[in-house]
Symmetry: D2
Subunit: 245 residues, 4 copies
């Protein structure tokens, strides 16, 4: 998998902070720009993210080029509708000699790997045979597997990315799109470290988990630590807990 941050709003955190400030300020944009220090910007952004006032985050846009991911992944990915996609077409680009993605559960089991490799080879041979028989590319591709590699350009703004990371960095997401999500997160953290400092699954970003009995349990460990902390005074000096949270 190759993930590259192609471009983004120049100084994305400044864009967000200025927009956030404009909402609550009597002065104009020019003055705002002059007045705002980096510290002020950081404080504003953290507030906006923490309080869930996410509309200002939309002014920061990010564009990625992704290669070497499967069509399994992209079919999941493009369900995220608050984003823009340009994907390599199987209708117009020949898939002869196509690359493919091998799941880790297959890779680590030699018997499974042999079955998988054979399946890829046979699908490729069928595709070539069909095109040789005059079947158009757009129809020959019906024999291609979900594992087939593809390329896609993705644009999302910071708000959509935070939501994407909540869903797809979660252990409940499939490994391939989770890998993509973490790779994208790594890229945007470099471009906008404060904006994305708490980004990740809800257990990380929000401190809770809605998966119920499907939960991976990470939140329970986090909560238990936090609960111990809260509960401590009660079992301690006898002083009343104020439950300050």
């Amino acid at each position: 998998m190759k993930v590259r941050l192609m471009s983004h709003t120049p100084d994305p955190e400044r864009a967000v902070a200025l927009a956030a400030r404009l909402c609550y300020s009597p002065v104009g944009v020019d003055e705002l720009e002059e007045q705002m220090s980096r510290e002020e910007m950081a404080r504003l952004i953290r507030n906006v993210v923490r309080m869930g006032h996410h509309s200002t985050l939309e002014h920061a846009a990010f564009e990625f080029a992704v290669e070497g991911v499967s069509r399994t992944l992209t079919h999941q990915l493009v369900r995220h509708r608050l984003a823009s996609y340009s994907q390599q077409s199987q209708r117009y680009v020949t898939q002869s000699g196509f690359n493919h993605v091998v799941p880790p559960t297959v890779r680590r089991e030699p018997a499974a790997k042999a079955v998988f490799d054979e399946a890829m080879a046979r699908a490729g041979a069928a595709y070539d045979e069909l095109t040789r028989l005059g079947v158009p590319k757009e129809d020959a591709r019906y024999v291609l597997p979900n594992a087939t590699g593809t390329k896609i350009v993705i644009s999302m703004n910071a708000r959509a990315l935070l939501h994407f990371f909540e869903l797809r960095c979660c252990t409940r997401a499939q490994w391939e799109i989770r890998t993509l999500a973490y790779r994208m997160l790594k890229e945007v953290k470099e471009a906008a470290p404060i904006l994305f400092e708490k980004a990740g699954p809800p257990c990380t970003s929000l401190g809770f988990c809605r998966e119920g009995r499907m939960s991976c349990g990470r939140i329970k460990r986090l909560k238990r630590e936090r609960l111990d902390f809260v509960v401590a005074p009660v079992t301690g000096r006898g002083g009343g807990s104020k439950g300050k949270e």
Copy 2:
């Protein structure tokens, strides 16, 4: 392919007409409802569609259940972002003994059909073997072909549908999603005949084509007929053409 209109806004054309009327009327909704005849409604809806004032069309919602379509189709379908989808999961539902879709170009060519059938059988066998070896369903499915059948529930409002029909009823769309589009169009035409009376590709709905040299040529035939009509008086009785269009 099985396409069923599961439910829709009751009296979708009344919903659209009332909303359209409210924008330009001093009276309230209750009075509007009493006053508006079926003829008035029809006139209003035709105006709204023709003039492209499409926001009022969004008040009419339609929900479809679709079965027996391929993942090739659904990967294209879900790129339409102004819609809602619920699709059968290949992560959680076993695909053993999966159905598949055969393209017409394959079906009518016995040699191609043989290659295709063999490819489907082998992909199915590989899937079963992988799951038998302990590979989880979500990973075993990487060997499944694009042809694999799937089920999906689709909700779109009338505005999104008109746009969907423009793109997907066009001969430039792939045959499978074009078939779906025409089947959906047939369903909504029964529920809202005036709303969708001109729905279809842009050559039908708008009288133009933007495909340039990729065009199927249908628009040229339509235009030639229309041009002949416009041009006729000039070469005819000598009476001046008023260029009424």
Copy 3:
């Protein structure tokens, strides 16, 4: 304020439950419909709402007609982008003799009420005078106040509504749009009681508050009660708390 649920997806909870079931079921829609009891439906919907798997909620659409609200309210309202609006036009509908909305803080203070009434009367007189002088309606309306009454048709699906209620039923929302939100909530609760049984501000629907020091404090009271419950066993019989949450 007059709020009327004009129409909605017939049996909205069935629409949601069927879509949710389809995702995880090998059988088709027809069989699903036959098999599913009301109890099963209720269980499914509660799961979907609780776990935040909200995409299936989009298949239930609701349309409201709202009258007697101010342009202050509608300017806030139409910021919700996952919705459809048709609003009475001030460009085309005369505003002579316009209705207006009086805030409670003004109504209960006679001195303020006098100032307010005078302001409304003067704005109305200026509007009439401008149109008499030949200024078009669309420009004369520049003197009309935010308080001016308007009519609007709103369509939202159940997912968008849940989000709308979280933001606008909160005490931090302005009183007028909060009133609208609670009126809409009352309407949809009758049409889909299970879908909306926990709907409301985040303290109600999710059990948390992100407003920080701007919080109204309601969540603290709720949390304290819940914390007492959780903490109780620790200070109680000595039996270990399992922290079941």
Copy 4:
């Protein structure tokens, strides 16, 4: 009115061209970047815009800061839902001594101007009086006129902008938002001259008008010129028109 292009995707035309090329190319993004000349980029972008394959245009994002526009304008503006907004709040920012916008039809008519100025002064006095009486800002603003000046940050991608220009550069749009649209168009034409070279109302960008009898007539003049051109050969040397369009 002050309109400033705050920031945009660096090299927006390259972003669009690369995405467009990826869809139809077997090679990866790195190679594409090396290979593509400015001429190739220009050709690609013109194709994409002309053929209406607008999804690739979404990768180019633009952010504007706008000041000195009225709330009349912003209430219209924020109806465009495929965009992001951050607007100065009348709930939290005092409007004492507020600026306002004067429509040209008022400005050029002294009697109207006098009525208008008086109305602004009275609304301002009422606002101040209400706040002095203890009415909160969010309620005192109910007396403020539509003309009240506001500030707003707008983000739109190139696709949304093309659509915005089609609706709001049209003579049927109100003068204030039309002025904003042309000012924004001027800004983006400097940043991306090829992308926006045909941007404007549909008569300019597409060569047609859907306004029917509400049309300003510009399209008729354009069409008549074009029709004369097409018709000429028929009445001319007798050479057959090929109707190449």
